[in-house]
Symmetry: none
Subunit: 146 residues, 2 copies
DNA sequence: AGAGCGTGTATGCATTTGCAAACGCACTGG
DNA sequence: CCAGTGCGTTTGCAAATGCATACACGCTCT
């Protein structure tokens, strides 16, 4: 039975890859998997095993757990969305950084709620947002959200 | 391959099962997998996929992550702070937004660590990050979300 | 003795993973 | 104009997963 409804794991991977601005072949090479297979995975044609998922996570430089959660392979009991609580409880960041994270998170929530109440119009979804600019020193200034 | 000695995963499962004092068939039923296959998994004859692993974890009432770590599918190099866990578990934001938050948070951490070491390390201690270098530099300015 | 029920284990087989090779398409630039 | 690269996709095919079925052993009854 072909149920294309499979987890959005493929979309997520592709999203991460395009955000990182690397090609399918590059990611495949870094992850140590074959590019054709990666293509199929991204389109949901094939469902990768845990090992492959782990390698892809490595290639993407993201946490394996992020992928597993996305793939629905980790239940992660109760999301409950206490992101804010976790941020406020974090002692490894400064107060100013904390405020930045809180602001961004809340504005995301607000944006999503607005988009939800509007029809199917995705407001302004086209965002460049390079994930690769990590060392680009993303400090408090520079974020401005729609 | 004849004997993939790597998998202490099977032993771990069997250990957990016997410790829980349930039979192979019972666990298989609770996990929703076939008992013969579970037997093979426990003896390392077969290497279960992530889905099966997840179901087994459910059946054993243990954390999925514990199994993944045992299976070597999660590197566990990072303690994975509570903030990151909360962000990843949050279902009220999009994957892109999630990535933004994760990136910003990690870059904060990186900044702080660099500041802590006081001038020894230049912001990129471990990762070669060929993806970005291949791509040539992205932005290098802070985040700007349109 | 058996019949019955419990355990874990070896088969056969449909389905699937994952790869190598070949393909089509868009861009170059000699 | 078409060789040379890059991209993503499609196509067979060996190897593996995962299951249903059948097997071997241990235990307890009547």
């Amino acid at each position: 039975m072909e149920l294309p409804k499979v987890g959005s794991i493929g979309e997520y991977i592709r999203e991460q890859r395009t955000q990182a601005k690397i090609s399918l072949r590059q990611l495949a090479a870094q992850a140590g998997v074959s590019f054709p297979y990666l293509s199929q995975v991204e389109r949901g044609v094939r469902k990768p095993s845990a090992e492959i998922l782990n390698q892809i996570a490595k290639g993407l430089r993201i946490s394996s757990q992020a992928l597993y959660v996305q793939a629905g392979l980790i239940d992660e009991r109760e999301p409950d969305s206490d992101v804010l609580a976790a941020i406020r409880a974090d002692v490894t960041i400064t107060g100013r950084q904390r405020q930045v994270l809180v602001d961004i998170y809340e504005s995301f929530r607000k944006e999503n709620k607005a988009a939800e109440n509007e029809g199917a119009q995705p407001t302004q979804p086209a965002e460049p947002l390079d994930a690769a600019s990590l060392n680009g020193h993303a400090t408090s200034e520079g974020y401005n959200l729609p």
